[in-house]
């Protein structure tokens, strides 16, 4: 069997495992619908960021600063949500700030010929400090900010096998984004240009288009999606800002990208598995029967262990773009 087919098969097995876990958890008094609700919430930021990074990497760039974009856009999103008194506009502004950061990174990559991995790490460290500084500067309170419940984007109710499922419309948007990205990359002219910029940048140049512009565009799209994901965490999920809000999710999204071999749909499936692990952790922590048996510290490790385990079991077999991480210099 082709390695890629094998991967899809394994994904199916993963989903069966998820279903089995849901079934098993129902014995602890945990409703399957609750578990799926948690999983969908956890999936959202991961999926947005992973889909965005797929596009970005296809164009030949790598951004390990997703965690940093998450942090900054979370603050920006909440700030603007309070200004506009609307959670949705806050999410949008989070995306705008993400796109801005993505654009700056793109400029650095293209014109600065940056060491992209180091620049991404710089962004992460900048964001850790900036997050806490901004919290102090804007709300004059260290490390935490709670905003009115009314700003949280309301969830809608979807019927599923006789039960009501409360889902954030933003989660559905994240899933839609994955399909849109798939179509963009594979069915449009722009997608071909994007992929060419990652595989053989010279060819884009020869065809009369700017590699620079294509890459900056890809970086901005990636940043925008990551920004929406970052703003979703406070505005669609937690209802507040704390300094540990991202908890390594930017890197889990990166793991999903590595796993997917840059196919947005596979990335979406991977984020569902990772999101489920996280959702399970959250759900279990609030379930009395399990809480007594296992300290919550170990449950909190679950998403990270699952992420490493998935990457270890399924080493990346798909080829990544040839020019990934390499600056392009016009001759």
């Amino acid at each position: 069997m082709k390695p890629y087919r094998l991967r899809v098969l394994w994904l199916l097995i993963g989903f069966v495992a998820v279903a089995a876990t849901i079934y098993a958890m129902s014995f602890f008094g945990l409703k399957p619908t609750r578990l799926i609700e948690f999983a969908l919430l956890a999936l959202t930021p991961l999926a947005f960021a992973a889909v965005g990074e797929c596009i970005n990497e296809k164009s030949g760039q790598i951004n390990i600063g997703i965690e940093g974009i998450f942090l900054i856009s979370a603050v920006a999103g909440v700030f603007w949500a309070e200004v506009f008194e609307s959670g949705l506009l806050g999410l949008l502004m989070g995306g705008v700030f993400g796109a801005l950061i993505g654009g700056i990174l793109g400029l650095l990559n293209v014109y600065g010929r940056a060491e992209q991995v180091i620049a991404g790490m710089g962004l992460n460290i900048l964001a850790i400090g900036l997050f806490q500084y901004l919290l102090m500067a804007i709300w004059a309170f260290p490390g935490i900010h709670i905003f009115p419940r009314t700003l949280v984007v309301p969830r809608i109710s979807i019927p599923l096998i006789g039960e009501e499922l409360a889902v954030s419309p933003i989660s559905l948007a994240a899933i839609a984004a994955a399909f849109a990205a798939y179509l963009l990359l594979n069915k449009t002219l722009l997608g071909i240009r994007l992929r060419a910029a990652g595989e053989k940048p010279e060819s884009v140049d020869v065809a009369g288009h700017s590699v620079y512009r294509v890459r900056i565009f890809a970086s901005m799209v990636g940043g925008f999606l990551a920004g929406v994901g970052g703003a979703f965490m406070p505005l669609g999920w937690f209802g507040g800002l704390v300094k540990e809000i991202t908890a390594g999710r930017g890197f889990i999204a990166l793991a999903a990208v590595v796993f997917s071999g840059l196919n947005p749909l596979t990335a979406l499936a991977a984020t569902f598995i990772f999101g489920f692990a996280e959702g399970l952790a959250f759900a279990v922590v609030v379930t009395p029967a399990v809480k007594e048996a296992v300290p919550f510290h170990f449950i909190m490790m679950l998403p990270y262990i699952v992420t490493v385990a998935v990457l270890a079991l399924f080493p990346s077999t798909r080829r990544f773009p040839k020019a990934l991480g390499k600056p392009y210099v016009r001759e």
């Binding site: 940056a114 790490m121 710089g122 460290i125 900048l126 850790i128 900036l130 806490q132 992420t307 490493v308």
Partner: protein, 338 residues
């Protein structure tokens, strides 16, 4: 130096945006950090763990690995030091040595999963080390809460016993600083004066060439991770056995968090060279210590220091910026090294 200037200007801009007086802030920062002798000793105390976590990242970079797992390895080093230093009763000097070695090994062992996953399964170390950092975070908070909690104060682990503490030199600086400097010199010697170090650097420079030269790449990667883990472990040890007044770890790990990541900036400013890292750490230690004065006197959140560090790293990532400066100021920059 240029990148540092960019970072400081960026920090000033951030303060100006929110209406803080950045001249006053920086004045307070540098006077507090380097203005008097005890302030300088405190700066060195802040620099101590950074030298080690910086070295972790530098050793990785020298051998072609992006090892950002110093954070978790440092947690493990600290908890290792708490176990031996706080829980056991041993004669004075032996206790100190045993606790130090145990903590360092704990850090090194925590780096091995990332190394093995990289070698055998091709898992990229950026993802695996970050995941291990978080696993370490929860493991260590669990251990502190349930197994090594201080009976007198539940929010922290047992402090290191008198027999397992490094001597205080002055302010918060202890003799562990000397050990850290010695470790850096040994690392320098290992990397530049031995075959092992040479092989490590060849792998980092050009993996293909190294393979043709018959160098065992898996082995050098293991060595690189292990050495880095020892250094990060020592960083954790230094915060327990060598840092008054608490000599221990808090359950929130407030006194450890981010030391590993700050090491990345330190290593890059120090150009991934053990000696450069020492100076970069002292500079950054000054920012950290002085940041508290800045907060006190100008009301600026001291976390801005971290933002400055991030801007410095971003600036360092852009080789073209340096070219540009050289083009604009061809004569002025001839003598400087950037």
């Amino acid at each position: 130096m240029l990148a540092v200037a960019v970072g400081l200007v960026g920090g000033a801009a951030l303060m100006a945006v929110y209406g803080y007086d950045f001249v006053k802030a920086y004045r307070a920062l540098f006077l507090g950090a380097f203005g008097d002798f005890s302030g300088f000793l405190e700066t060195l105390a802040f620099a101590t763990p950074l030298i080690m976590t910086g070295l972790t990242f530098a050793i990785g970079m020298r051998s072609g690995l992006f090892n950002i797992g110093a954070e978790g390895q440092m947690y493990m080093g600290a908890i290792g030091a708490v176990f031996v230093g706080g829980m056991l009763n041993l004669p004075p000097i032996i206790h100190l040595i045993f606790a130090t070695v145990f903590g360092m090994l704990a850090g090194a062992i925590w780096s091995l999963p990332a190394a093995l996953l990289k070698i055998s399964r091709g898992v990229h170390e950026v993802v695996s080390t970050i995941m291990l950092n978080w696993i370490a975070f929860w493991l260590v908070t669990y251990l502190i809460t349930y197994h090594v909690a201080d009976p007198a104060r539940a929010e922290r682990a047992v402090p290191a016993q008198e027999t397992a503490r490094y001597l205080v030199i002055g302010a918060s600086l202890t003799t562990v600083f000397i050990l850290v400097i010695a470790f850096s010199l040994i690392a320098y010697f290992l990397l530049w004066r031995t075959t092992l170090g040479y092989e490590l650097r060849v792998v980092g420079h050009n993996q293909e060439a190294a393979r043709y030269a018959g160098i065992n790449i898996s082995k050098t990667m293991m060595t690189s991770f292990f050495l880095g883990g020892l250094a990060a472990g020592l960083a954790g040890v230094s915060q327990v056995l060598g840092r008054p007044p608490h000599w221990t770890v808090f359950a929130t790990m407030g006194n450890l968090i981010n030391i590993g990541f700050e090491g990345i900036g330190v290593a890059l400013v120090g150009r991934n060279h053990p000696i450069g890292i020492i100076f970069a750490s002292i500079f950054y230690g000054g920012l950290l210590h002085g940041g508290r004065f800045m907060e006190f006197e100008a009301g600026v959140a001291s976390e801005i220091v971290r933002a400055i560090n991030g801007i410095i790293i971003l600036a360092l990532a852009i080789p073209a910026a340096l070219d540009l400066v050289k083009k604009i100021f061809p004569r002025k920059n001839r003598g400087e090294t950037g």
